[in-house]
């Protein structure tokens, strides 16, 4: 009994250290002077903190702009992915299509996520070039929306399937329209699922690197991950600036996930059907 508890706690600590050590290292580097950064033996705790890298990143350089671009792209693409994906998922769970299309379509939709992203990067680059959308936020919004859609459809399909049909049917009999029943009855019941899906989409868009790198090169359209990677140059690597930007990039997701935690716990639809 006791042995297993120690064993379990040990594993947890190990996992926690493995997960948090790089974060801690990044945090300290962002606060160390360049001299301290390379001190041997490494200075784990005792160094004089400085905010010079933060001012360097966000005042001298245009990391503030990258941050804003990232936020706009992530929020807008998440919004559209949720809007389109939720409606699609609802239709797929509630309407029977001819030739079993409702089942087949769901699989096709998922299959778009089965090949590696790099396969689509080049065609997307060419398409965006022809549309004159290279180096624009719109290009990233379109790509991220498309990229998140299958995920939204699959998540929401599961949540919708759990809502008893009776409830919508009751709403229809009570005189509500399909859309009204969706908005007033179904969506409130799946709101925890919707929140979880939104968090996931935001994180994916916020962290996305490959498409952003391929589609944007200018300061005006660059997202934070691309901006950070850009500090690795032929001549120097700006560890302090990169770490400072990394810490800032991490914050919104952390705060958001914590705020949403309450919604991520389900259980709202209990008591819907007598039992």
């Amino acid at each position: 009994m006791k042995r297993t508890r120690i064993f379990r706690t040990g594993w947890l600590v190990l996992a926690l250290v493995a997960a948090l050590a790089p974060v801690y290292w990044m945090l300290t580097i962002s606060l160390k002077t360049e001299v301290d950064q390379f001190a041997i033996p490494p200075k784990w705790f005792s160094f004089t903190p400085t905010l010079q890298h933060y001012t360097d990143a966000f005042v001298t350089r245009s990391f503030g702009q990258y941050l804003l671009t990232s936020a706009i792209v992530a929020v807008v693409s998440t919004f559209f992915a949720l809007l389109i994906g939720t409606l699609a998922a609802y239709a797929l769970t509630r309407f029977r299509l001819p030739w079993n299309l409702d089942h087949k379509l769901s699989l096709w939709i998922l299959s778009t996520r089965m090949f590696p992203a790099i396969v689509t990067a080049v065609p997307l680059f060419l398409m965006m070039r022809d549309l004159r959308l290279l180096n624009t936020k719109l290009a990233l919004i379109i790509v991220y929306t498309a990229f998140n859609l299958p995920f939204v459809v699959w998540m929401m399909r599961g949540f919708f399937a759990e809502v008893p049909r009776d409830l919508e049917e009751a709403a229809l009999v009570d005189g509500d329209s399909r859309l009204g029943a969706l908005v007033r009855v179904v969506l409130p019941l799946v709101s925890p699922g919707l929140a979880a899906t939104a968090v996931f989409c935001l994180i994916v868009s916020w962290n996305e690197f490959l498409f952003a790198l391929v589609l944007t090169q200018t300061d005006a359209a660059m997202t934070l991950p691309v901006g950070i990677a850009g500090r690795v140059t032929q001549y120097e690597i700006k560890w302090g600036v990169m770490s400072a930007a990394g810490v800032v990039a991490m914050m919104p997701i952390l705060v958001f996930a914590l705020a949403m935690q309450r919604y991520l716990v389900r259980g709202l639809s209990l008591g819907a059907v007598k039992g």
Partner: protein, 354 residues
């Protein structure tokens, strides 16, 4: 509003669930659809509500053919078997939902909710959520949501099936009073024959998607159209004995009853109250042995064996007999029903073809 089903058929794939169903319900009637599980009662109701498409045939509400009218514009209210209360809304919001959708203004909404809440005695519950209510309370809320507006008809799908026996009897009475008070056409689905008998102005008995008989409870009980209806309605069930009539005598294994009818193979049906048991030998009585007796309080059900036949009789509460005790039966043959042997005809009476 009157409601009319005209040769309505519903198929799911290859299986016909409702088959050539015709029924005309007058305005203000309380009609019960009665039948065993899986006979298509719910499907019939759902077609009327527009939740299921009609494979062929027509449905009318008043003079309007509603086959292609979407659910939300049929103006019917339905109480679901599962109650289908909206779990994220308070009871008051649940009841007000049909009004909110119709954009009734807030003041009137509140007044009407208060009125039905009072009528159904659920005022103290209005601020709670559905999951905080008992089954009986949820059932009332579901009713309240239906009667808060004045629909063209109420559709109820076994609304009492999940309540305990006592509450069910109580709610049954309340439902009947309520319908009487409101005077709105009501179609009520159940597989409980006692519910059907007590509630209905007319009962429609269904079997395997086909209508068997549509008549008043009394006529259904006293003049069942076929063997199925006879057996399904009444508790305990009607006694059915297969045999044949020859030269004015009904013959079956160890039973011989003089019957004044022409020769034929028939099933004779006798209600338990028309079988009289006596512990003393009687002239012309049929000897039988007691299988078991069940005292119900105000009466006794006596299960009897006559040769290979099992027969049930109703006896007074003070009737006493040991198991295997020998008794004598007198049958009120003038109350007997006769059905063509082992062959149940479907009810297609002239007066029912609409």
């Amino acid at each position: 509003m009157s409601i009319k089903f005209k040769n309505v058929t519903k198929s799911f794939g290859d299986s016909k669930v409702v088959d050539d169903f015709s029924l005309k319900i007058e305005d203000g009637e309380f009609v019960v659809l009665l039948g065993p599980s899986g006979c298509g009662k719910t499907t019939t109701l759902r077609m009327l509500a527009g939740l299921e498409s009609v494979t062929s045939g027509d449905i009318y509400v008043g003079d309007e053919r509603i086959n292609d009218v979407p659910t939300q514009r049929r103006d019917l209210a339905m109480v679901f078997q599962s109650y289908a209360l909206y779990p994220h809304m308070s009871i008051a919001e649940n009841i007000a939902y049909p009004l909110r959708v119709r954009k009734v203004d807030r003041n009137e909404r509140e007044q009407r909710v208060a009125r039905v809440a009072k009528m159904l005695e659920i005022e103290p519950l209005l601020q709670r959520k559905p999951r905080q209510l008992s089954g009986g309370e949820r059932q009332r809320v579901a009713l309240a949501r239906a009667i808060v507006r004045e629909p063209r008809a109420y559709l109820m799908d076994e609304p009492l099936s999940n309540l305990d026996a006592r509450l069910r009897v109580q709610m049954r009475g309340e439902l009947k009073r309520l319908q009487h008070q409101l005077g709105t056409t009501t179609i009520y689905v159940t597989h409980d024959q006692a519910e059907a008998m007590t509630l209905a102005s007319r009962v429609a008995v269904m079997k395997k998607g086909r209508l068997q008989q549509f008549d008043t409870p009394l006529n259904i009980y006293n003049h069942p159209a076929n063997r199925f209806v006879a057996e399904f309605v009444g508790s305990p069930s009607m006694n059915l004995i297969d045999g044949k009539i020859e030269h004015g005598v009904f013959l079956s294994d160890s039973i011989k009853i003089p019957i004044d009818r022409s020769d034929a193979a028939v099933t004779i049906g006798l209600r338990p109250e028309h079988v009289h048991v006596s512990t003393a030998p009687l002239d012309g009585a049929i000897p039988a042995s007691v299988y078991v007796t069940e005292l119900m309080g105000n009466e006794t059900f006596v299960f009897l064996l006559v040769g290979p036949h099992k027969i049930i009789a109703r006896a007074p509460a003070d009737f006493r007999a040991e198991v295997n005790c020998k008794v004598w039966l007198r049958l009120e043959t003038d109350k007997a029903h006769f059905f063509p042997k082992e062959h149940s005809t479907d009810y297609t009476d002239q007066k029912q073809s609409v």
